[in-house]
């Protein structure tokens, strides 16, 4: 019984840790499928983490925080789209700049709104929405059915986005833009509009991930709190072979590093925590050597498209 409970506890932690990475990965996925390679998820998550706290604090509702966060994400996404779709600038450079902007702007505004104090301002955060009965199931009950709403949303988005991408016509059209925009164009699809939409919606989903960090996992904003999860999301997309279910498993495997470290510490095995933080990245590199990311990525990923 105790063992089940312990493992169930690990599962619970893993899932809630994986949620923000999953959200970021899904948002990135939408953009990738439209042909855009956005490495700026870290920046988007940072600004939306702050926006969520600001919204929750000043409007008194954590849902307002989420809304504000998604708005911030949309603005960042729009900025990205204008530069990379309309102006056809280098997507990697713009993404890197987005990261710098996200970090610096969130730090600055944090000081402006909340001042530099020793105690962080705590805000209203998401509460756990326990699903009665189901949450009592041993082992998986707590992990699957006693999480915060954003976690549910994150995992529900997996089949939803999968369905959208692979079972609907707009999804097919989106993917055709990412695979071969010229073909899509000749078949009457508005490539630019598709890319804009994918970016803005995708950025909003990434923003939800950021919001969960500051108003879910924790209930305050700390500078640079995303701590590299944006990059892990990037890795998750590749490791997950650009599929929603793949990203979900990747996120859970990557975040399991924390769990593993706890287990090992309890067992007395001394693998330094720092090595465990490397796991997602090493795994991704290994994955890249096994399957060329080019083989599974949308064929036109990262290439600016020019009409005519």
């Amino acid at each position: 019984m105790d063992l089940l409970q312990t493992i169930g506890g690990y599962l619970f932690t893993d899932i809630r840790m994986a949620a923000p990475v999953l959200l970021a990965g899904l948002g990135l996925l939408l953009m990738n499928w439209s042909g855009l390679l956005n490495i700026g998820a870290e920046g988007i998550m940072l600004i939306s983490a702050l926006a969520a706290v600001v919204g929750s604090h000043f409007f008194g509702s954590v849902w307002m925080g989420l809304l504000l966060a998604m708005l911030a994400g949309a603005v960042f996404g729009l900025l990205f789209a204008v530069l990379t779709v309309t102006l056809r600038a280098n997507q990697t450079v713009v993404g890197a700049a987005l990261n710098i902007l996200g970090l610096s702007l969130s730090t600055t505004l944090n000081r402006v709104f909340f001042g530099i104090e020793t105690t962080v301002t705590k805000v209203d955060a998401f509460q756990v929405w326990e699903i009665p009965l189901l949450s009592k199931i041993p082992l998986i009950g707590r992990a699957f059915f006693a999480q915060m709403p954003i976690v549910y949303i994150a995992f529900l988005l997996v089949p939803l986005i999968h369905y959208f991408l692979f079972k609907t016509k707009p999804g097919l059209n989106l993917r055709s833009v990412g695979e071969n925009p010229r073909v899509a164009d000749t078949l009457g699809i508005n490539v630019y509009r598709t890319q804009y939409l994918a970016t803005i919606v995708g950025s909003m989903i990434i923003a939800a991930g950021g919001a969960f960090l500051s108003t879910g996992l924790l209930n305050f904003f700390a500078e640079d709190m995303v701590a590299g999860r944006g990059y892990i999301a990037l890795a998750a997309v590749i490791f997950g072979k650009y599929r929603p279910t793949g990203i979900m498993f990747a996120a859970m495997i990557f975040m399991a590093g924390n769990v593993v470290s706890n287990v090992l510490q309890v067992a007395g095995v001394g693998i330094p925590y720092t090595f465990l933080t490397m796991i997602p990245y090493i795994l991704t590199i290994i994955a890249l050597t096994i399957f060329a990311s080019r083989a599974v990525a949308p064929a036109s990923l990262g290439r600016p498209y020019k009409r005519g």
Partner: protein, 523 residues
Amino acid sequence: MSVILEMENICKQFPGVLANDRVCFSVKKGEVHALLGENGAGKSTLMNILCGLYKPTSGEIRLEGELVQFNSARDAMELGIGMVHQHFMLVPTMTVTENCLIGDKEGGSIKLDRKEAGQRLKELAERYGMEIDPDAIVGTLSVGEMQRVEIIKALFRGAKILILDEPTAVLTPQEARALFKMIRALTDNQFTVIFISHKLDEVKEISDRVTVLRLGAVVGTHDIAQCSIEELARLMVGREIIFDVVERQHPVGDILLEVNNLSLHRLHSHESNKLLDDLSFEIHEGEILGIAGVDGNGQAELVECLTGIRKASSGEAIYQEKDLLHLSTRDIMSHDVSHIPQDRQKTGLVMPMTLVENFALQDYYKTSFGKRGFLNWTSVEERSSKLIQDFSIKTPSAYELAQNLSGGNQQKVVAAREISREPKLLIAMHPTRGLDVGAVEYIHNQLIDQRDEGVGIMLVSTELEEIMRLSDRIIVLYEGRAMGCVRPSETTIEEMGLMMGGRTLDEIRNGRVKEAPIEDMVM
């Protein structure tokens, strides 16, 4: 049959070239209408206008009597015009069904019903004697199957007029046969087919009428039944070509390059439709061997194999006691071989670099260009200035970016660089493409001078005048095979046209002209 399509006085002007010159082209419903012509005749341009990818500079298009204007490919598609391009517009990672459904606006729901659509596609295909697997991933299909998908895709989207651009260029004979059956099935069902080609046999076989284009203008529209292949050849290449074979000053020397049984298979297939099929020929010192033929019949592949860019499947190319087919590009070029590539923008020049930097491209690694790992830019500059002067390259400075020069001057830069390397063997592919008359003259004189100094030249060109004027001997390529080897003084334009269209010299001269339909072609 009633007229379904009329293109009236279509003109299309590109910078420096009039691609379509007051073309009048009308097609009847349910017929197969061939558009015949050499490279640069304007066929593809005309059809790109028809399917909405280009806008005509002037002229009108009427569909079933109504004036229409296309602002995009989508417009043309919605009006029932579907084009199957030479380079397929397919997404290799998606299935056949998915490819046909991209951008599809039919049906109310956003749900993607692959099964239902796949069913419809299968039925559509079977109706016209084609077989497709809707769930196959396009990337795994053979070229012929991909083409079928393109046709089905066009039909699926409501095409009533189907334009096929050089469809048999990538097909095996059986696949071509199957295609023709398909075409007949379509026309039996009141679909109209426009068939772009340079292959005389096929045009004669499948079409009802033919319109011949030459240099952007219509030369004639005829009923096929009343046209012999010889007449078609004559129309295609024209009789007014004036050429004067340049007199030989020096005798031809020893064999410089000996090619034996050179073959190149297509990727993923060993079918008889090879890219290069058992080519054997020699080039002597002080001789220009012309390689003629319509673009796409193996010329590019031949050059790539000889210059180390592509690996041949079998055969040998003996030069200076080495086999070029097994050497790297650097090795080949360092043994006094020069290459003027066919695509100056892609492989001949580095567009964003200066002319000086471009002039260094082939030989920079030699000590004459700099010692101990450094480039001696001063000497490169001097060389460049001289070449610019010698070749009359119009540029404000040697440091102008290559991309800012006109096309003709860009070509001069490439030619200057390669010729000035003092090669023993020069492979020149389309060396005068895009040049004005004066520049063409200059390059020709350069080639002749080189020949007179003992250089062996392989001149690949689609310009018959150029080939006839400069070559000592000419080989015509068709589908990777040599149709024959002739001397310009001993052949006629008609003969050349026939070879370019698929007849061997043997057949032509010994009267064994086949009028039999494609079915009887031995597989």
